[in-house]
Structures are given as structure tokens and as C-alpha cells.
């Protein structure tokens, strides 16, 4: 990113190639609608391009990139009348069995996908940051603007629910 800030366009291409698929999946699985996900995904990269002159190498580029993505998602949820907090309030205990509407599903993968979709937004985001971006709890906290305890709790709940979804696998 520092090279790109200095005017090296090839450096951006390298960065883009490294992060494009993971970032796209992170956005898509949070948004679920591909057209909207593509729009937000493009906004994230445009923000990276615009903010290159202000980029400080104080944290990993990945953390910075996903922080931008998180902020764009929050904007999107706000526009849609949703919020991370309200979704978290709908949270259910981690040891709750699989939702009733998924009992008919036979395929583990389908159950897993449904469980991922059913996760509260903050938990799903924490899980996706962990899984797609390879972030630690501390990095998730930084990227989402939450404290470490909250990030850890979100991730733990998400993992527990997904694990429960594939328990009989």
C-alpha cells in the first residue's frame, strides 16, 4: 500500500489480487444480495484508492481494508433501517438447538449455510473476518470498532451456532 501511495499502480494490482476474493465473499455473505454486495465491494476499493495519501502503516493492511468494509456495511444496514445492535438483541443462547425451519434439511452444508445466514449480523461479521480475513480477536475488535471482549463473545457465539448446525455431521 505504501508503494501504491507513492504512485506505483502495479503495487495496487498485487494488493487487489491478494484480497479481492476474500473481501468479496466477506461482503457478499454479509449482504446476501449479489448486486448490492458488488456495489459495496466497489465502494470499499474506491475508498482505498481515495484514502491512499492518508494511509499509515500502523496496522496490517488487511485490518485497514476490512475496517473500511465494515464501515460500508454499517452504512448499508443503516440505510436499510437495520443495525448491528438490534440484530444482536435478537440473539439466542449459543446452546439453542438448530432453528426449527432447518430441521428438514438433510445436507449438512445446507444446514451450515442456513446457520450462517441465521447468525446475527455482528456475529456473522466476526466469523467472516475470522474465517475469510484470518483475523485474530484483537484485529476483529479493531476492524469493527468493538472492544475485545465483545469481539471475542461474538465470535464464540457464532462458532458455537455453526458447530451446532453441523453437530450430527
Amino acid at each position: 500500500m505504501l508503494a501504491y501511495r507513492g504512485g506505483d499502480a502495479a503495487a495496487f494490482e498485487e494488493l487487489y489480487a491478494r484480497h479481492r476474493a476474500r473481501l468479496f465473499r466477506f461482503v457478499l455473505r454479509n449482504i446476501k444480495v449479489r448486486a448490492v454486495a458488488e456495489e459495496i465491494y466497489q465502494e470499499v476499493w474506491m475508498r482505498v484508492v481515495e484514502a491512499r495519501s492518508n494511509y499509515q502503516a500502523t496496522a496490517r493492511f488487511t485490518t485497514w481494508l476490512y475496517t473500511i468494509a465494515h464501515n460500508r456495511l454499517v452504512d448499508h444496514w443503516r440505510r436499510a433501517g437495520l443495525s448491528l445492535v438490534s440484530l444482536e438483541e435478537q440473539d439466542v443462547p449459543a446452546d439453542t438447538p438448530d432453528p426449527a425451519h432447518h430441521v428438514e434439511a438433510r445436507e449438512t452444508l445446507a444446514r451450515f449455510a442456513a446457520a450462517l445466514d441465521a447468525l446475527p449480523a455482528a456475529q456473522r461479521e466476526a466469523f467472516l473476518l475470522h474465517e475469510e480475513a484470518g483475523m485474530t480477536v484483537a484485529e476483529i475488535a479493531t476492524a469493527t470498532g468493538a472492544n475485545e471482549e465483545a469481539a471475542k463473545s461474538r465470535l464464540r457465539y457464532a462458532m458455537a451456532k455453526l458447530k451446532a448446525a453441523i453437530a450430527d455431521d
Binding site: Y4, A21, F24, E38, Q42, H130, E131, M159, L162
Partner: protein
Amino acid sequence: MTDERDPKISRRYRELGAEEPSRELDQAILAAAHRAADKPHAPLVTPAGRHRWYFAFGAAAILVLAVAVTVQIERKGSEPEAVVLDQRASPQALPATEAPGAAVRVEPKEASPVKPRYGFTSERKQRAQEAPRELAREDRFEAKEAQAPQVESPNREQGANSRNVGPAAPAAVPALRGRMAASAVPLSPERLLERIAELRKEGRHEEADKALAEFRQHYPDYRISEDMLKKVERTK
């Protein structure tokens, strides 16, 4: 602990698919990045809407302020000199038509044979000399000085110990004007003579001679007392 991945969950997650952005989207983003890299850094937030006029308004305000401050400094700079010039005009120097205490500027004549040593050299002085009022006053001086000798030596004055001051005597001796102005004391013949005596006392005879010559030129009828004459004239 939560930092460690659960392999079963990770595997299931990978099985969900590996969606990627479309090729068009990639190209659009890369093209934008290339365009940005070719250009110098633009401001992140360009002035738009009502913010745009802030810049023009700010620049105009700075310009007006700078001009106002400059004019103010210019005015203040000219005020002390004006006061000093006012003080130079003693009540005796004022013509009958002038009220005492009114601001009168009396400048040395340019055609004077004795060059004023302590005269003002600023442009303001020249502007003041060009004022019509000054010219009218100087015309009166010229008429008077046409009767007086152009150059007088100190020796010639040694025998003259009795002179009278005319009703419209000139206001100042140019050679001493600068000093008197600096000390902000109204010019009177007595004070001028004291200054000449001081110069003499300080051993600055050249200046004293010159000042005395000017004094006599401007006050041809002034009677210098014996005591003062001893002080102001060079002793042989």
C-alpha cells in the same frame, strides 16, 4: 482459543463456494486505481455546494483586511510627523490671519541659498511643499528675502548687535528644524539661538556657523543680545 480455527467449520465454510467479483468489476476498480496513481493526490473532500464560496469569501476577506491594515499603518506613520510639523509653527511665526495653535506647516524654500542641514528629506515633506497653501506662504517669504543678502558670513554679523524682529518673521531656521522637531519644542528665535549656543559649546562650530547664518537670514531684524552673541558667535 477463539483465535484458533475449528477445522470442521472451516471446511464446511469453504464448501459453501468460492464466489468472486465479476471480471468487469475487477477491471473498473483497477482502472480507477491506475487513473488515481497517474494523477497527483486530489483532496478527499472537494469543495462542493455552499462550501465552495467559503474559499472565495475567505480570500476576499484576507485581501480586504490586508489593504485596511496597510492603510492604517500608513496613516499612523504620518501622524507623528504632522504633530511635529505643527509644533514647529510658533505663535510668532503665524501671520496675523492665522489663528494661534492652528496647524501650520512651514517648509524651507527650495531656492534658499543656505541648504538646510537638518531638513526633512521624506516624500511627505515634498508633498507638503507642493501644497497650494505652502506655496502661498513661501511666496511671502520670497518677497521678504529678496531684500536680504543671500549669504551672510558670521564675521559680518559681529558688529551688528541691534536688530528687531519683524511682524511676519519666518517660522524656523531650516538647519535647526530637524533638531527642534525631534525635541518637539516650538521654534522661537531665542530657542534657536540657544540651540546654536549649544552647538558652539559642543565644539560643532561648522554647524553652529551655518545655523547662525541661516538664523540671520531668516531673522534679519532680530536683535541678539550681547551675552547671546558671545555664545553663538565663533570666538577668534
